[in-house]
Amino acid sequence: MKNKAGRELPNHIYGLKAYRPYEGLFVNPPEPVPMAGRTLRVGRPSSNKVLPSLIEAVEATGLRDGMTISFHHHFRNGDYVNKLVMTAIAAKGIKDITIATSSLNDCHDFLIDYIEDGTITALETSGLRGKLGAYLTKNPGKLKRPVIVRSHGGRARAIEAGEVKIDVAFMGVPTCDRFGNATGRLGKSACGSLGYAMLDSRFAEQVVLVTDNLIDGYVFPYSIPQTDVNYIVAVEAIGDPEGIASGILKITKNPIQLLLAEAAAKVIEHSGYFKNGYSIQMGGGGSALAVGRFIREKMLKQEIKGSFGVGGVTGLFAQMLEEGLFEICYDTQTFDTTAIQSLRENPRHVEISSSFYANPWSPGPIINDLDVVILGATEVDLDFNVNVITNSNGLLMGASGGHSDIAAASKLAIIVMPLIRGRLPMVRDRVQNIVTPGESIDVVVTDRGIAVNPRRQDLIDNLRKSGLKIMTIEELQEVAHKLVGKPQEIVLSEEDKDIVAIVEYRDGTLLDVIRKPL
């Protein structure tokens, strides 16, 4: 059976429910479902939520075999919480745990050991990288079902619709008080916004906060309220500040990235959307940051003021907010120390949950009003489909993130990527895996020309004035093939048991399956 993105889907996937195939960008839920809830729990007067250790917290929640726990990824590659909690769970001898986390990073490679010994038997995440990604790609069947890859908005939807039921959310928080009011704005492990944690705390059956800055006073404003919190555990360190938030991110010096950024900025400038009141999401990658710098210069020069920015917020955007180039900034994830300071001090810098950000089954995620977004890609194809989860060898090494959410919701979705990486052309006949359907992508910017989705004749007309080399996507591919030749397709296992992961589209339909390369 083929879905609307042209991907061949198996009729049956081991360990998973029967999925509806992807049918298009905005398919409404098949039937109305009430928002998920949780069991009412009563706190007695003068009771104490603070427990001496994670082992005691695990005991207090009654966590047992077969349950689902969650983490957030605001500590990025500096996260210690996941490991601290898994160590406690393993010490209790609990097995068959599903981890439904907002994302995973290189620092989570240790999970391999817990998969090997049966402590963890299922994973649901936005991203998979490093040794863990490689291990899972090569060893399907180590888990009881394929990994479920969701976008940030898709995860919020699945949790609120009751498709993902978190039994215990273990949320690392950089500062909290003895009642459980928590924030990411303060403390030695400050990470800024707690956008993903806000969602888990609101919907999980039970919530355990893990902090390295438990204060005796009162935390306000708080991102997680005490009414959502069952237990609190203080530990030595919840993360490595170096890995949590970098200092101000340096603008790239890589000439190709600068060239790409300049071209992307020109696309925005001439797109027809670049005018007073426009909104944007820039992202935090090397190229995206450089695009931001060029856009800032153009805004100052042409005296254009934007309305709102969304992110993934960097110090650069915080600076633009400070300068009055934007009215307000919605922050679901804060990337660097400058942006964290801005969230703390600038009332126009607003913290939002991942549901407020991108949940497609809500009356209005903020991204529904986005004009322009800048996105990366590991590869694209002739139908403009985008892969950001596997590399050219079929290895899991990326993250779905908000990619497919903002591409679908925005008016102008721009992919920025080099045409060739190493000697591999990045415009394929068919991408290895689809994370973002081509019908939601408008422009692909490369170092050797740009291609506009033929559905957007209006953009093609507008961009003629930009001075950029506009080509068809087929022509772009041809340029790459002339330089490095056409690569052979890698061979994937066709067997049902060799499905490594599935890509769930933001509306819960099945977009693609990731198979083991042979």
């Binding site: 000697r423 591999l424 030749g485 690569p487 052979q488």
Partner: protein, 91 residues
């Protein structure tokens, strides 16, 4: 047909480059190839053909060519192979 007298190495194990080692074989063995490449899945056959074709082109035989490739483009790989053969043939 020319042959090389000694083993010679050219290039680097760096991105977009290749480390090429040629070593002499006894007469009549022709050209043998040993390829390690970061893009073997995508370009393996193409690279092996290119290596043999390049050695033939400059008129050498009875040589073993070992290539550790990190995604070199064709012109770079050819240059490395030719240079290695010249070095192996130098007095």
């Amino acid at each position: 047909m020319k042959t090389i007298q000694k083993e010679a190495t050219v290039g680097f194990e760096e991105k977009n480059d290749a480390l090429v080692t040629v070593s002499p074989l006894t007469a009549g063995q022709g050209i043998t190839v040993e390829l390690v490449s970061s893009v073997k899945r995508q370009y393996g056959q193409h690279l092996e053909d290119l290596i043999v074709a390049t050695v033939n082109e400059v008129g050498y035989t009875d040589v073993h060519v070992k290539v550790i490739d990190k995604g070199a483009w064709d012109y770079a790989l050819k240059a490395r192979i030719v240079a290695a053969l010249y070095r192996g043939n130098a007095a």
